[in-house]
């Protein structure tokens, strides 16, 4: 790695560390809404550590997933949810909630089984895996994953899942409709389900290794299909690997944090602006910047109260990540005059 890349990684890591410290120190008196900075008592510390873990793992999953998808789909607009995974997870969760209300009304059998998972990660995982398989089946052309076909298929499947979610939602009593919107804002749970946490951590670890090792394959894949193949890259295998990793990471992050796609869109772009476009460096950079963005967003939302309690995390990721990205993008343009994606 060259100097620019190492410096960039350092900056990002420092930001992440500062974010962790901030998140651990910032507290708020829920009764009067005032913010304080101090080392908390142990029972509170546990919760803050829980949130830190969720943010790091969730953000890292999102950042890496976004990077892999942008490379796979060759589209700068790709984000973890372009393939419809979060929409699928949302749909499954909604179906679970709906069946829970059916169970209460006397339904039995498998509906009850799904409903039972409602407070766990099962429906989300099942939903996003189902979508993953569907998109994989539909997104191929001539037996191979084709970027354009895949990206269009994913978008369409995502929209269809979203529509079905609305459909299921309109079957539920209106008083419980409002709540479910909250789910779509995403969370950084202070009490992460240990199942989701472990799954995500393991998937993150494996995907990180796989993508870091595929770093130069990813670079090579950018020189055109024929030449990449002739360099020794098995595009078929690379694409399937990327697809599976990106999909698994997106599913894991959905199970852990709900749908916060924006982190996954912006972390790779930010890393690219800071470190250039070699994937060996981008893989760790996206992981770190994803975690950093999410933890800073969570830290900041501890210290803001506009009168309705904590804001949804999605609001903060957008309000922090968005302007930072726009600023970096503009400043780098000024400096180099050239920016390739």
């Amino acid at each position: 790695m060259n100097k620019r890349q190492i410096n960039g990684l350092f900056v990002l890591a420092a930001l992440l560390a500062a974010g962790v410290i901030a998140r651990l120190l910032i507290g708020r008196d829920p009764a009067i809404g005032s913010v304080n900075f101090s080392w908390p008592e142990s029972n509170i510390l546990v919760l803050r550590f829980g949130a830190v873990r969720s943010a790091i793992v969730g953000g890292a999953c999102l950042g890496l997933s976004g990077l892999l998808l942008q490379a796979l789909l060759r589209n700068p607009l790709a984000s973890p949810f372009i393939l419809g995974l979060s929409a699928g997870a949302g749909l499954a969760a909604m179906i679970a909630a709906w069946s829970a209300s059916m169970v209460a009304a006397g339904a039995v059998g498998w509906i009850a089984f799904i409903a039972h998972g409602a407070d766990g990660v099962i429906p989300g995982t099942v939903g996003s895996l189902a979508v993953l398989i569907l998109v994989y089946a539909l997104g191929r052309r001539g037996g191979r994953l084709d970027p354009l076909t895949l990206v269009l298929t994913g978008t369409v499947v995502a929209t269809i899942c979203g529509a079905l979610t609305l459909l299921v939602q309109s079957l539920m009593p209106p008083s419980s409709r409002g709540d479910s919107w909250m789910w779509f804002m995403g969370q950084v749970p202070e009490l992460p389900s240990s199942g989701a946490m472990w799954t995500a951590a393991v998937l993150l670890f494996c995907s990180f290794i796989a993508s870091f090792r595929s770093g130069s394959a990813l670079d090579a894949a950018s020189i055109g299909d024929d030449e990449a193949e002739s360099l020794g890259v098995s595009l078929r295998r690379l694409r399937i690997l990327l697809f599976l990793c990106a999909g698994a990471l997106a599913s894991a992050s959905v199970a852990l944090c709900g749908p916060i796609a924006f982190v996954g869109f912006i972390a790779p772009h930010l890393s690219r602006l800071l470190l250039g476009s070699r994937h060996r460096a981008l893989v760790p950079a996206s992981v770190i910047s994803g975690a950093a963005i999410l933890i800073w967003a969570d830290a900041v939302r501890q210290s803001i109260d506009v009168g309705a309690g904590r804001l949804p995390i999605g609001v903060l990721t957008a309000l922090i990540g968005g302007p930072v990205f726009l600023m970096v993008m503009r400043s780098r343009q000024m400096r180099t005059g050239a920016w390739t994606c």
């Binding site: 020189i223 024929d226 360099l231 020794g232 098995s234 050239a338």
Partner: protein
């Protein structure tokens, strides 16, 4: 030893190669010539093992390259396409380093990358962004990448590597290819400059409308009468070898 047997290939329903048969030993430079659209690029991609032929087969040292795993194939054959592209922002050095993708040894790789850069005279451009080079400089980079990748006794398949190169660079590339051939490689080059073919290639494969119409040494194959027939322009074979004659000069006057 490259062996092509009754190879046929079609794009959808359009036939591009029809029952090509040819072979060449290693240590040669084979020039692939023929009119535009005669199937040179298609044949070269088949030779590099990048497509699955519809009929017939190609073997290199007894192996069918298109059936090898890409990582193994990359050790046998290096390929340069007619239309190089790059969708991310790499420096020249980084691009050439991609040529060593399939190799295991780090040390050896750095050596080979350095050699390739030196051979193509790219030292001064090493750290510049590939996208900010002129077309000829880019062409040299992709050739350097193939040279870095290419193993001794391997196969080098180059699709019009001389396009966009100035005469000096053309010579440089030609020298490099000769060197590879001498060291035991088989170099297959699609090219149009018949004067160069005549001077440098040991073997010429001539394609017409997807068929192999002539194979042999340049003086045998590239006779002025045949060339006149195909390209409608006159060539002379003088002491300097093949040169373009009349018609053109007739207009100039």
């Amino acid at each position: 030893m490259l062996n092509i047997e009754t190879l046929s290939f079609q794009y959808g329903r359009r036939r591009a190669l029809t029952e090509i048969t040819a072979s060449s030993a290693a240590g040669n430079v084979v020039a692939l010539v023929g009119r535009n659209g005669s199937g040179k690029s298609t044949l070269l991609r088949a030779i590099a093992g990048l497509t699955h032929p519809n009929a017939g087969n190609i073997t290199w040292r007894g192996q069918r390259l298109e059936r090898l795993a890409p990582l193994k194939r990359a050790l046998e054959v290096a390929y340069v396409s007619q239309r190089p592209s790059l969708s991310i922002d790499l420096t020249v050095h980084e691009l050439i380093a991609l040529g060593r993708f399939a190799s295991r040894s780090r040390l050896d790789s750095n050596l080979r990358i350095g050699q390739a850069i030196a051979l193509m005279g790219l030292e001064a451009l090493k750290d510049r962004s590939f996208h900010e080079l002129s077309a000829g400089e880019q062409q040299r980079c992709v050739i350097a990448r193939a040279l870095a990748q290419h193993e001794e006794n391997g196969l080098l398949a180059l699709d019009e590597p001389f396009s966009n190169l100035d005469p000096g660079e053309t010579m440089r590339v030609f020298d490099a290819l000769k060197l590879c051939a001498r060291a035991g490689a088989l170099v297959v080059v699609a090219m149009h400059d018949l004067a160069l073919v005549d001077r440098v290639a040991q073997t010429v494969w001539w394609l017409e409308q997807g068929r192999m119409v002539a194979t042999g040494s340049p003086p045998d194959v590239l006779t002025p009468t045949k060339l006149q027939e195909i390209f409608h322009c006159e060539f002379d074979r003088g002491p300097q070898g093949l040169t373009l004659a009349t018609r053109v000069s007739s207009i100039t006057t």
